[in-house]
């Protein structure tokens, strides 16, 4: 275990700790797809990673699993797991042992993540036999049980079904059964409901939350849908162009979103009942390699200031509870998980300084026009 100067909360609370993680396709860290990412995931929580496509959300999850896509390289930083140690330093063989067994992943497109020429029963049983060493008949029994737990209709019948014979919602359930069958404690869910109808999405999300309770899962939920985030998560990290730009407990984020990007995402949501059209964010996420200097969001930001184009803003703590107290203070440690911080110069004046009392509100720049 590496000695850390910023220990997040009591030692037994964190499950995954990502520090300064950079992953890219060449050596330039500034332009890397994932850029100096810090992330703490608490045991038992649903942590949502939000952002538009191309922000590096999926690559982050794949890196945690040690599944870098071809051409991608680990440029620096660590991924610490409370029990498994430093994940990126494990050998291929050790990675294979934890992958699936302790940390599992469900993917956005179940149709392309499932093997089309094998029955879903075979695919679930394979997990049970490989990771749990079960006999064929016992694996079969448990596979049926898992299909039942993910609310698959006619589980015994569906065991013989091939992926194409299932609807999108059923494929997603099958993949969830496969991911959970080995008994992981951490689930990385990459846009698990994006390909589904809204009604089926609601069912799959409910199911995910039920299983979390039942199995004591910790979930890293990757999504671009803030509605899903609001309904399912405990804490949220907003990711833009490879780095986190805001982090907060979910109520806090929706109540007082700080970063202009977060506020733009919220203003993009459709409103039922006619409060005017959604706003959208002009422009698009810059590709790695085309990022501007300074704050990467500056070209799309409506509140951009000259300094934003010069230097990347540092983290600025927005919540009142922490920052003021010394790190050894137990109260401050508990509040680690409640902290609200953002990388934006707009909040610099409102930020608490060490050893000084902090203001309660994020600052005078909260724009009620963009809040809903």
């Amino acid at each position: 275990m590496i000695a850390e100067t910023t220990i997040p909360g009591p030692e037994d609370e964190w499950l995954l700790r990502v520090r300064q993680l950079s992953v890219g396709f060449d050596d330039d860290v500034e332009q890397a797809a994932v850029r100096r990412l810090d992330l703490d995931i608490r045991r038992g929580e649903v942590f949502a990673l939000v952002g538009e496509s191309g922000c590096g959300k999926s690559l982050t999850a794949l890196t945690i699993l040690g599944l870098l896509p071809p051409g991608a390289r680990h440029l620096g930083g660590t991924v610490e797991h409370a029990e498994l140690g430093s994940l990126l330093q494990l050998s291929q063989r050790q990675q294979r042992a934890f992958r699936g067994k302790h940390i599992a992943m469900v993917f956005q497109e179940p149709a392309s993540a499932l093997n089309p020429v094998l029955s879903i029963g075979f695919q679930i049983m394979e997990v049970l036999r490989l990771h749990r060493g079960l006999s064929r008949s016992e694996a079969r029994r448990q596979a049926i049980d898992w299909l039942r737990r993910v609310a698959m209709p006619d589980p015994e019948e569906r065991l013989r079904a091939y992926p194409h014979q299932l609807s999108g919602g059923q494929q997603q359930r099958a993949m969830l059964a496969m991911a959970l069958a080995s008994g992981p404690h951490l689930l990385l869910a990459d846009e698990p409901t994006t390909a589904l109808d809204v009604t089926v999405q609601a069912q799959v999300l409910d199911l995910l939350l039920d299983l979390r309770q039942e199995l004591g899962l910790t979930i890293l939920l990757i999504t671009h849908d803030l509605g899903v985030v609001a309904q399912c998560s405990d804490r949220v990290g907003v990711m833009y162009a490879g780095a986190l730009v805001e982090e907060a407990p979910v109520e806090r984020l929706f109540e007082s979103p700080a970063h202009p990007y977060t506020r733009g995402l919220l203003a993009s949501l459709p409103r039922l009942g006619g409060d005017g059209p959604p706003q959208g964010i002009p422009g698009q996420v810059p590709d790695p390699g085309e990022r501007p200097p300074g704050c990467v969001f500056a070209p799309r930001c409506s509140q951009v200031m000259p300094r934003c184009r010069v230097a990347d803003p540092p983290w600025i703590e927005l919540s009142a509870a922490d920052g003021a107290a010394a790190p050894q203070d137990p109260a401050a440690q508990a509040s680690h998980w409640d902290r609200h911080r953002s990388r934006c110069y707009l909040y610099e004046e409102a930020a608490p300084r060490r050893g000084r009392a902090a203001p309660r509100e994020p600052g005078p720049l909260k724009d009620p026009g963009t809040l809903r």
């Binding site: 209709p153 109808d197 509605g227 985030v229 929706f254 459709p270 809903r372």
Partner: protein
Amino acid sequence: MTELLRVRDLSKSFSLAGRRREVLQGIDLTVRRGLNLGLVGESGSGKTTLALCCLRLIEPDAGTVTFAGQDLSQLSAPAMRRLRRRMQMVFQGSLEALDPRLTLGQALAEPLRIHQIVGDAQMASRTADLLAEVGLAAGLRTRYPHEISGGQRQRLGIARALATEPRLLFLDEPVSALDVSVRAQILELLEGLGERRDLTMVFISHDLSTVAQVADHMAVMFEGRIVEEGSTRRICRGPSHPYTADLFAAIPKADPRHRPRRVRVPAAQLSITSGEPVSNGGGCPYLGRCVRAAALASHEVEICRFERPVLRPLNESREQPLEGERVACHHPMRSEAT
């Protein structure tokens, strides 16, 4: 307002794995000029098939489609092709809908050439105009579809459809695959187009919240039938069909303080969700999932079990039932607007 498109008693069935499946059953629908229609329902409910039948890209089994006063089934193939200039479709999946070997400029020139809209001399200026109209930089003309973002591809698909100056535009899930931020941009673009051009749009989507942004009217489809239709305003305020209400309830609210526990659908009924039709004799096809029926006394539900509800004007008993507001339910929910 004048009728642009009128669909009467349209039916279509496909044979799938030896089983006959009724994909569209007796669809009646009218699109008026200048009033955008939203076609809403889960996958498998027949929305896309209905659009394809309207364009006669699929031949319906029965029923008529009338566009600007012309019965399409009477038209010869060349006449139909000419008419399609005025009736275009933006297909779902912007990447699959574009030829990967054509640059954006070539893809845009294709409809202009096929329909002989402009000669080669004006081709460059016309494609440039179209790119500008949908908010794409002229420099993108030499790019290939895989080199641009999903939002840009969707814009190109719209530009291609606009090239022939259609009066009616079908858009199949135009924003479902896009990020929320980009989604809002595309919806904004479409709204602007509707105002600038004499263009009426039919939006096909499973997501009520996006359809509600752009549609004046909505038709909600379930298993090949329209189960509710009416103004977007009325339906958003108070849906009459329990299915429409369920679609609303399923939209995740962007408010963490408001996390409703949804009514659980028993696992045995989940196959219905997948678009697999469940045979229910002559009864209401939605009965298996109907939350409202579960709350009613058994003698009241009797009719739902044995008689298939037909689309009837809302408040039929009143002297002046609301025009265009219809629902197919024996026990419609009370609506605020009525």
